[in-house]
Amino acid sequence: MDIQINKVEQTFIVSASGKIDAMTSPSYEASIAGQIEAGSLSLVLDLGGVDYISSAGLRVILAAAKSLKNRGGSLLLANARGPVKEVFDISGFGSVFKIFDSVDAAVSTASR
Protein backbone atom coordinates (compact mmCIF):
# COMPACT_ATOMS: atom_id res chain seq x y z
CA MET A 1 0.00 0.00 0.00
CA ASP A 2 1.18 3.51 -0.85
CA ILE A 3 -0.21 6.71 0.59
CA GLN A 4 -0.16 10.25 -0.77
CA ILE A 5 -1.44 13.30 1.06
CA ASN A 6 -2.54 16.47 -0.69
CA LYS A 7 -4.22 19.60 0.53
CA VAL A 8 -6.91 21.58 -1.27
CA GLU A 9 -7.97 24.70 0.62
CA GLN A 10 -8.64 23.43 4.15
CA THR A 11 -9.24 19.83 3.17
CA PHE A 12 -6.60 17.12 3.36
CA ILE A 13 -6.89 14.29 0.85
CA VAL A 14 -5.40 10.95 1.85
CA SER A 15 -5.00 8.82 -1.27
CA ALA A 16 -4.18 5.17 -0.71
CA SER A 17 -3.40 2.58 -3.33
CA GLY A 18 -3.05 -1.19 -3.17
CA LYS A 19 -4.43 -3.34 -0.38
CA ILE A 20 -5.74 -2.09 2.95
CA ASP A 21 -5.64 -5.29 4.97
CA ALA A 22 -4.61 -6.40 8.44
CA MET A 23 -0.95 -5.93 7.57
CA THR A 24 -1.15 -2.50 5.94
CA SER A 25 -3.94 -0.88 7.95
CA PRO A 26 -1.63 0.28 10.79
CA SER A 27 0.30 2.56 8.43
CA TYR A 28 -2.97 3.76 6.88
CA GLU A 29 -4.24 4.53 10.38
CA ALA A 30 -1.02 6.36 11.26
CA SER A 31 -1.27 8.58 8.17
CA ILE A 32 -4.86 9.52 8.93
CA ALA A 33 -4.25 10.00 12.65
CA GLY A 34 -1.32 12.24 11.83
CA GLN A 35 -3.60 14.57 9.88
CA ILE A 36 -6.23 14.63 12.61
CA GLU A 37 -3.67 15.28 15.35
CA ALA A 38 -2.19 18.09 13.26
CA GLY A 39 -5.57 19.80 13.52
CA SER A 40 -7.20 18.93 10.21
CA LEU A 41 -10.99 18.86 10.59
CA SER A 42 -11.79 18.03 7.00
CA LEU A 43 -10.48 14.81 5.52
CA VAL A 44 -11.23 13.09 2.24
CA LEU A 45 -10.13 9.48 1.85
CA ASP A 46 -9.50 8.80 -1.82
CA LEU A 47 -9.95 5.06 -2.40
CA GLY A 48 -9.50 5.20 -6.18
CA GLY A 49 -6.26 3.22 -6.12
CA VAL A 50 -7.44 0.70 -3.53
CA ASP A 51 -8.30 -2.70 -4.96
CA TYR A 52 -8.90 -4.54 -1.67
CA ILE A 53 -10.10 -3.58 1.80
CA SER A 54 -10.87 -5.84 4.76
CA SER A 55 -12.53 -5.23 8.12
CA ALA A 56 -9.15 -4.02 9.42
CA GLY A 57 -9.32 -1.15 6.93
CA LEU A 58 -12.94 -0.39 7.74
CA ARG A 59 -12.00 -0.24 11.42
CA VAL A 60 -9.49 2.52 10.62
CA ILE A 61 -12.03 4.50 8.61
CA LEU A 62 -14.68 4.17 11.32
CA ALA A 63 -12.26 5.25 14.06
CA ALA A 64 -11.20 8.27 11.99
CA ALA A 65 -14.82 9.26 11.37
CA LYS A 66 -15.64 9.04 15.08
CA SER A 67 -12.54 11.02 16.02
CA LEU A 68 -13.30 13.78 13.52
CA LYS A 69 -16.95 13.93 14.49
CA ASN A 70 -15.98 14.36 18.15
CA ARG A 71 -13.82 17.33 17.11
CA GLY A 72 -16.55 18.86 14.99
CA GLY A 73 -14.94 17.79 11.74
CA SER A 74 -15.96 15.46 8.98
CA LEU A 75 -14.67 12.54 6.95
CA LEU A 76 -15.70 12.01 3.36
CA LEU A 77 -14.89 9.11 1.07
CA ALA A 78 -14.29 9.15 -2.65
CA ASN A 79 -13.82 6.69 -5.51
CA ALA A 80 -14.78 3.36 -3.94
CA ARG A 81 -14.89 0.97 -6.88
CA GLY A 82 -15.41 -2.69 -7.73
CA PRO A 83 -14.62 -5.06 -4.86
CA VAL A 84 -14.05 -2.12 -2.49
CA LYS A 85 -17.49 -0.70 -3.24
CA GLU A 86 -18.95 -4.16 -2.69
CA VAL A 87 -17.28 -4.40 0.73
CA PHE A 88 -18.69 -1.00 1.68
CA ASP A 89 -22.16 -2.00 0.57
CA ILE A 90 -22.09 -5.36 2.38
CA SER A 91 -20.71 -3.79 5.57
CA GLY A 92 -23.45 -1.17 5.61
CA PHE A 93 -20.76 1.53 5.51
CA GLY A 94 -22.17 2.61 2.18
CA SER A 95 -25.17 4.03 4.01
CA VAL A 96 -23.21 5.43 6.96
CA PHE A 97 -20.65 7.32 4.86
CA LYS A 98 -21.05 9.64 1.94
CA ILE A 99 -19.05 8.14 -0.91
CA PHE A 100 -18.41 10.59 -3.72
CA ASP A 101 -17.65 9.70 -7.31
CA SER A 102 -14.64 11.98 -7.40
CA VAL A 103 -12.23 13.71 -5.05
CA ASP A 104 -13.33 17.07 -6.49
CA ALA A 105 -16.94 16.41 -5.55
CA ALA A 106 -15.92 15.39 -2.02
CA VAL A 107 -13.68 18.44 -1.60
CA SER A 108 -16.33 20.85 -2.80
CA THR A 109 -18.82 19.36 -0.33
CA ALA A 110 -16.22 19.48 2.46
CA SER A 111 -15.45 23.13 1.67
CA ARG A 112 -19.03 24.28 2.01
Partner: protein, 151 residues
Protein backbone atom coordinates in the same frame (compact mmCIF):
# COMPACT_ATOMS: atom_id res chain seq x y z
CA UNK B 1 -16.77 -37.43 -5.30
CA UNK B 2 -14.34 -35.22 -3.48
CA UNK B 3 -10.65 -35.17 -4.24
CA UNK B 4 -8.35 -33.89 -1.54
CA UNK B 5 -5.40 -31.77 -2.59
CA UNK B 6 -2.26 -30.38 -1.09
CA UNK B 7 -2.42 -28.62 2.22
CA UNK B 8 -0.23 -25.94 3.68
CA UNK B 9 0.56 -25.27 7.30
CA UNK B 10 1.50 -21.77 8.42
CA UNK B 11 2.45 -20.25 11.77
CA UNK B 12 -0.57 -18.42 13.20
CA UNK B 13 0.93 -14.96 13.01
CA UNK B 14 -0.29 -11.91 11.11
CA UNK B 15 2.68 -11.87 8.76
CA UNK B 16 1.54 -15.21 7.33
CA UNK B 17 -1.90 -13.92 6.42
CA UNK B 18 -0.85 -12.94 2.90
CA UNK B 19 0.52 -16.45 2.26
CA UNK B 20 -2.78 -17.99 3.38
CA UNK B 21 -4.75 -15.65 1.13
CA UNK B 22 -2.41 -16.27 -1.82
CA UNK B 23 -2.77 -20.05 -1.36
CA UNK B 24 -6.56 -19.83 -1.37
CA UNK B 25 -6.67 -17.45 -4.32
CA UNK B 26 -4.36 -19.48 -6.55
CA UNK B 27 -6.00 -22.83 -5.75
CA UNK B 28 -9.47 -21.42 -6.24
CA UNK B 29 -8.45 -19.88 -9.56
CA UNK B 30 -6.91 -23.13 -10.76
CA UNK B 31 -10.00 -25.04 -9.65
CA UNK B 32 -12.20 -22.84 -11.82
CA UNK B 33 -13.68 -20.26 -9.48
CA UNK B 34 -14.50 -17.26 -11.67
CA UNK B 35 -12.24 -14.23 -11.28
CA UNK B 36 -15.07 -12.05 -9.97
CA UNK B 37 -15.46 -14.26 -6.92
CA UNK B 38 -11.80 -14.36 -5.93
CA UNK B 39 -11.59 -11.01 -4.08
CA UNK B 40 -14.49 -12.05 -1.86
CA UNK B 41 -12.88 -15.41 -1.10
CA UNK B 42 -9.59 -13.65 -0.28
CA UNK B 43 -11.44 -11.38 2.11
CA UNK B 44 -13.12 -14.32 3.84
CA UNK B 45 -9.77 -16.09 4.24
CA UNK B 46 -8.11 -12.97 5.65
CA UNK B 47 -10.88 -12.48 8.18
CA UNK B 48 -10.76 -16.14 9.26
CA UNK B 49 -6.96 -16.21 9.48
CA UNK B 50 -6.75 -12.96 11.46
CA UNK B 51 -9.41 -14.20 13.83
CA UNK B 52 -7.40 -17.35 14.56
CA UNK B 53 -4.22 -15.32 15.13
CA UNK B 54 -5.79 -12.77 17.45
CA UNK B 55 -8.23 -14.94 19.38
CA UNK B 56 -7.01 -18.52 18.98
CA UNK B 57 -3.30 -17.93 19.47
CA UNK B 58 -2.76 -14.50 21.05
CA UNK B 59 0.76 -15.64 22.02
CA UNK B 60 1.55 -16.46 18.38
CA UNK B 61 2.28 -20.09 19.25
CA UNK B 62 0.07 -22.07 16.91
CA UNK B 63 -0.41 -23.11 13.35
CA UNK B 64 -3.11 -22.74 10.74
CA UNK B 65 -3.64 -25.45 8.13
CA UNK B 66 -5.36 -24.85 4.83
CA UNK B 67 -6.60 -27.62 2.60
CA UNK B 68 -8.96 -27.74 -0.32
CA UNK B 69 -10.93 -29.96 -2.62
CA UNK B 70 -13.48 -29.68 -5.36
CA UNK B 71 -16.71 -31.57 -5.60
CA UNK B 72 -20.35 -31.08 -6.61
CA UNK B 73 -19.45 -28.03 -8.66
CA UNK B 74 -17.81 -26.27 -5.75
CA UNK B 75 -14.41 -25.24 -4.51
CA UNK B 76 -14.11 -26.06 -0.81
CA UNK B 77 -11.45 -24.57 1.42
CA UNK B 78 -10.90 -25.82 4.96
CA UNK B 79 -9.06 -23.70 7.51
CA UNK B 80 -8.05 -25.65 10.61
CA UNK B 81 -6.47 -24.60 13.89
CA UNK B 82 -5.86 -26.35 17.19
CA UNK B 83 -6.75 -23.34 19.32
CA UNK B 84 -9.49 -23.29 21.93
CA UNK B 85 -12.87 -24.48 20.69
CA UNK B 86 -14.61 -21.54 19.08
CA UNK B 87 -17.37 -21.46 16.51
CA UNK B 88 -16.66 -18.28 14.60
CA UNK B 89 -20.02 -18.57 12.89
CA UNK B 90 -21.79 -18.31 16.24
CA UNK B 91 -20.89 -14.61 16.37
CA UNK B 92 -24.13 -12.67 15.90
CA UNK B 93 -24.70 -10.58 12.80
CA UNK B 94 -23.60 -6.97 13.29
CA UNK B 95 -26.18 -4.20 13.42
CA UNK B 96 -25.60 -2.50 10.08
CA UNK B 97 -28.20 0.19 10.58
CA UNK B 98 -26.60 2.31 13.31
CA UNK B 99 -25.03 5.75 12.91
CA UNK B 100 -21.30 6.43 13.01
CA UNK B 101 -21.11 7.14 16.76
CA UNK B 102 -22.76 3.85 17.69
CA UNK B 103 -21.24 1.75 14.99
CA UNK B 104 -19.11 -1.17 16.18
CA UNK B 105 -16.67 -3.02 13.98
CA UNK B 106 -16.99 -6.33 15.84
CA UNK B 107 -18.65 -9.08 13.90
CA UNK B 108 -17.93 -7.51 10.54
CA UNK B 109 -15.24 -10.04 9.67
CA UNK B 110 -17.64 -12.93 10.26
CA UNK B 111 -20.28 -11.06 8.30
CA UNK B 112 -17.88 -10.92 5.33
CA UNK B 113 -17.13 -14.64 5.66
CA UNK B 114 -20.84 -15.37 5.38
CA UNK B 115 -21.56 -12.89 2.60
CA UNK B 116 -18.57 -13.53 0.35
CA UNK B 117 -18.83 -17.31 0.28
CA UNK B 118 -21.68 -19.46 -0.92
CA UNK B 119 -21.60 -21.48 2.29
CA UNK B 120 -19.67 -21.44 5.55
CA UNK B 121 -19.64 -24.27 8.10
CA UNK B 122 -17.77 -24.89 11.31
CA UNK B 123 -16.99 -28.11 13.12
CA UNK B 124 -14.76 -29.31 15.94
CA UNK B 125 -12.85 -32.42 14.97
CA UNK B 126 -9.83 -34.12 16.55
CA UNK B 127 -9.18 -31.13 18.77
CA UNK B 128 -9.31 -28.67 15.89
CA UNK B 129 -11.62 -25.88 14.79
CA UNK B 130 -12.37 -26.43 11.13
CA UNK B 131 -13.95 -23.66 9.12
CA UNK B 132 -15.17 -24.81 5.74
CA UNK B 133 -15.72 -22.18 3.05
CA UNK B 134 -17.57 -23.24 -0.09
CA UNK B 135 -17.63 -21.29 -3.33
CA UNK B 136 -19.58 -22.51 -6.34
CA UNK B 137 -17.64 -22.90 -9.56
CA UNK B 138 -18.54 -21.31 -12.83
CA UNK B 139 -21.30 -19.11 -11.52
CA UNK B 140 -21.09 -15.83 -13.30
CA UNK B 141 -22.75 -12.61 -12.32
CA UNK B 142 -25.96 -11.75 -14.11
CA UNK B 143 -24.21 -9.17 -16.30
CA UNK B 144 -21.81 -10.50 -18.92
CA UNK B 145 -18.16 -9.98 -18.25
CA UNK B 146 -14.85 -11.12 -19.57
CA UNK B 147 -13.91 -13.83 -17.12
CA UNK B 148 -10.27 -14.80 -17.31
CA UNK B 149 -9.28 -18.21 -18.50
CA UNK B 150 -7.07 -20.20 -16.18
CA UNK B 151 -5.73 -22.55 -18.79
Amino acid sequence: MNTAHSNISLPATLDNMAAAVAFAESRAGEAGVVAAKLPGLCLAVEEAFINICTHGFPDGQGRVELGWFTGSGSFVLEIADSGPEFDLLSVPEPDLSTEIEDREIGGLGVHFIRKFTDQADWRRENGKNILRLTVHLGQRRSHPQTAQSHD
